[in-house]
Symmetry: C2
Subunit: 253 residues, 2 copies
């Protein structure tokens, strides 16, 4: 039967991964700007033509890369979503996952941002774009599951909003803050230091506004910090608290 076809398909997929692996390491080493198709091909010991058998254009490859990176992102989100804490704290854990990932993989965020630009996005192939959209669904699902539980436990009143809609504020706010952070100099120019700490505070405000229990006082940095530390310890023990851009380096000696 089609076993030959199968093997070929498998080999093709393997090679695609090789291309993506190498492309990613090149980007991490030399930046997005310096990724060259010809060099990528030769570093993988294939010809340019072969590379183009996989990706219809450079942008296509970039979208594929961004899509792939979603995997490691998902792992963090799931940890946050699966953690056994109050739903509201889990929402915060999800935000933290997002922030930690952005810290750990800054180059990935630049890629994701670049790729979701209209210009770049539209230069990728239709299929690639669809695959990218599809890949982001599990992440949204993880978040939605927490929302669902929050609603069913009565921690938050959906007021007719769907699960996706209920977390859209959080989503857009973190997305936007990442964007502002990555535009070098922008926040400094507007004297907004510690953007991610601010993001946490704003998130508390938003969740309070949605009436998500238990409400958090906004004027108690101590308590906010304690909660963050708890989440860091329980959910992300493998991340150093010291490098976490959110937990403030106050007191503690």
């Amino acid at each position: 039967m089609g076993s030959v076809q199968d093997r070929k398909k498998r080999q093709l997929a393997e090679r695609e991964q090789i291309f993506l692996d190498r492309a990613w390491s090149m980007i991490q080493r030399e930046g997005l700007l310096n990724l060259q198709m010809a060099r990528l091909a030769s570093e993988c010991e294939y010809s340019v033509g072969t590379l183009y058998q996989h990706f219809s254009a450079k942008e296509d490859l970039l979208v594929a890369l961004a899509t792939r990176s979603v995997g490691s992102r998902l792992e963090l989100y799931r940890r946050a979503a699966d953690w056994q804490g109050p739903t509201r704290h889990r929402m915060l854990a999800i935000l933290l996952a997002d922030i930690l990932f952005a810290q750990k993989e800054p180059e990935y965020f630049r890629l994701a941002q670049y790729v979701s630009t209209h210009t770049v996005w539209m230069s990728a192939s239709e299929e690639r774009r669809e695959a990218a959209l599809l890949a982001s669904v599990p992440i949204a699902d993880a978040v939605a599951s927490v929302v669902r539980e929050g609603v069913s436990r009565g921690d938050v009143d959906p007021r007719g909003m769907s699960e996706r809609e209920l977390c859209s504020g959080l989503w857009s706010m973190s997305e936007g803050m990442h964007m502002l952070v990555s535009a070098a100099g922008l926040l400094e120019a507007h004297s907004v230091p510690r953007p991610y700490q601010l993001l946490v505070t704003n998130t508390h405000a938003l969740l309070n506004g949605l009436g998500w229990q238990p409400l958090q006082p906004l004027d108690d940095p101590e308590q906010q910090n304690a909660l963050l530390e708890q989440i860091m310890t329980e959910v992300f023990p493998d991340f150093s608290m010291a490098t976490c851009p959110v937990v403030s380096p106050t007191d503690s000696e």
Copy 2:
């Protein structure tokens, strides 16, 4: 004295405006992707070299363009900020200004997004980037003035936050939503329709969470809508309510 120098400087500035005007109209006509330096030069009846006397690179020109567009944006923001309404409603008016502008000038938003990408941003010249940052200050000032008044009137308790920090949530949330909207298919894939209406609701939640008076009930679309219509009428009478992506087309016949 330096009158000759002055004239030269003036002529140079005029020519730069011509380049920018034409570049903008080309982009609006044919999209960001199709802007070509050589064609731009010839359409302006100058040589390529002359064009490069003004802009160190294509990206440099794009940043200049994005910077320039801030002007018309500012006008809307100021209207919102100067409007004589409760400070909370003025914050909403600012959000509306942002949304209306994004609707009216979709190509500008693509440009702004593209330009604030790390890759593109860093390809522009230092001076150009600084000018861009500087240009955004008046907008932030307009917003900050409303925040200041809100605080001084006692509509909102700053809880130690600066004016800039107090509106950072609104800023990042709208920025983020624009971003999500412009990534074609993303919101549809996550079944989030009417993104801007959602943005308004989330903004109400955020402002409620900050305790910004008068609080708005989140579960009363009628009232939300009435408020939006009032702002549209009083502040943005030159924008058609029909095309406004926020005021919902409910009832009314």
